[in-house]
Symmetry: C2
Subunit: 301 residues, 2 copies
């Protein structure tokens, strides 16, 4: 029996333009991508907010993946929408439009079940709200945290104040540089560890990821893909796959965390194969395990 996970973050509809084409009104948002990925491994409580027009078909889809939507509050107003356009170099994107809708003044209140989860992931949201959720979940076995450049610039002190409660801080290389003021990834990670979190996982996009703790480093390449169709949600899917695998095993030791990072990479390698979260709708556990074995073959020496 897998341990349960709670994730807090955005639920949104995305309009996405990539060099490969365009998709409108795709179900997205950090918490959604995370929850779907994690649901291949463990039961997930999604803590978020949707507008009152949120389609029941999407609710049914998430429910069909075993995601508990008791914490998906419905409020009068619009679900968050985002419109992004990727450059030819898909590491660069422009936000064409962003409407936070009901997400703007979301203040989560967790159910009794969600408050008892052993695995908590504080997805991208204001650090004050991340703290609020953290305080509602007493005694989690592992707390993960994500953030974005906006909060590093505008809520740095609040963010740093969280870190001593965080077991695994997940951020990308640009965010690590911005938060630490160090351009070298090793020095950046050492500085962030000094702020009090137990481990830092730096995501490097197509180059993989690198995990730092006080006494070890783990570096892993990304699964090489002939085509990245749409990178939207890759980071959240990575985190969801990783936390899901951890929760499914109940083992938060270094060796298992490394395997979990590879599962995260595997899930991320699928989500970029189609717009938004479409690929995840047909994915199954056997296909995941097959790519995990290919990942082993890719990296062993």
């Amino acid at each position: 029996m897998s341990d349960a996970i709670a994730v807090v973050g955005s639920v949104a509809f995305d309009t996405i333009e990539t060099p490969a084409g365009r998709a409108d009104h795709e179900l997205g948002g950090a918490a959604t991508h995370f929850a779907v990925a994690a649901s291949f491994f463990a039961p997930v409580h999604l803590i978020g907010v949707a507008g009152d027009g949120f389609p029941s078909a999407e609710r049914d889809y998430l429910g069909s993946r075993g995601i508990d939507l008791g914490g998906l509050e419905t409020r009068a107003g619009r679900t968050m929408t985002w419109h992004g356009r990727y450059h030819e170099d898909m590491n660069v994107r422009d936000t064409m439009a962003l409407d936070l809708g009901v997400f703007a003044d979301f203040r989560p209140t967790l159910s009794a079940a969600a408050r008892r989860v052993p695995y908590l992931f504080l997805g991208v949201i204001d650090p004050a709200i991340q703290r609020d959720v953290l305080q509602q979940v007493a005694g989690a076995k592992l707390v993960g945290l994500d953030t974005m450049n906006y909060y590093i610039e505008n809520a740095k002190t609040a963010l740093q104040g969280l870190l001593s409660h965080v077991d695994l801080f997940v951020l990308n290389d640009e965010e690590a540089r911005m938060l630490s003021g160090e351009s070298n990834v090793v020095r950046a990670a050492r500085r962030i560890l000094a702020l009090g979190c137990r481990r830092v996982l730096v995501k490097r996009g197509e180059y993989g990821a690198i995990l730092f703790s006080a006494d070890s480093v783990f570096a892993v390449p990304a699964y090489p893909l002939e085509q990245v169709f749409d990178p939207t949600g890759a980071g959240d899917t990575f985190a969801g796959g990783m936390m899901g695998y951890l929760a499914s095993t109940g083992d938060t030791g270094e060796a298992n965390l490394r395997r979990a990072i590879v599962y995260g990479s595997v899930l991320a390698s699928f989500v970029v194969e189609d717009f938004g979260g479409r690929r995840m709708r047909t994915l199954d556990r056997d296909t995941i395990e097959r790519r995990y074995r290919q990942f082993v073959a890719l990296t062993e020496f």
Copy 2:
């Protein structure tokens, strides 16, 4: 008893400016860096040219590393000099001055011993000269090739004409994109394989390297360093460590090639710790083996 290697390429003196400082008149050049790295594993014939003022102390140093200098021609004139300045982001550098000196019209003639080597590395030089050397070495067990953006732009046909004779084509990601016209590294490598070489190794600097053959892919991160002091010679040292390890084992199979790539990464991780090739002068095999084991610990899951 290790198999012997021959490498052809530049011997030079480098003036190097990095954010960490400046060094003048450091022994460098692609063939030098390659030969020194390979010499930790196997006997090396260095095929190159130096001016008549080339210091005997440098000759003695290379000789002390077991490098056969019978193919290092001395000609009236100046040894090649290069002056480079790295940006704060050390992936970018400007060439401040370049004087090819006697290298400008170098036409190598190999000794009888060098013509019989089982391992041949065609370092960066005009593809016409690479072909000339290739024709002098009949029956090599493994032929490696390096090039640079200048020859991809100005001697593309000659370069492509070599590839069907090449077992291992080593180039960086920018060069792979330029040669193939593909921005995606997997598609770029597939196109280059289609030109006839058996394997393509794409170097990705601080992100490691990725090896492609018709039926397999191997991806490996770089050894994470807190400080890169001077990247000069890292690529040549990588290639030299890799070819040296291959020659020391006599095994050119996929599994051993993967280990050889890790040895190449290990050697490159040392050379960047000081200006030019300084760090290599005090390096020993035990220190290499220790970092190889750290590399295993860094990547295993």
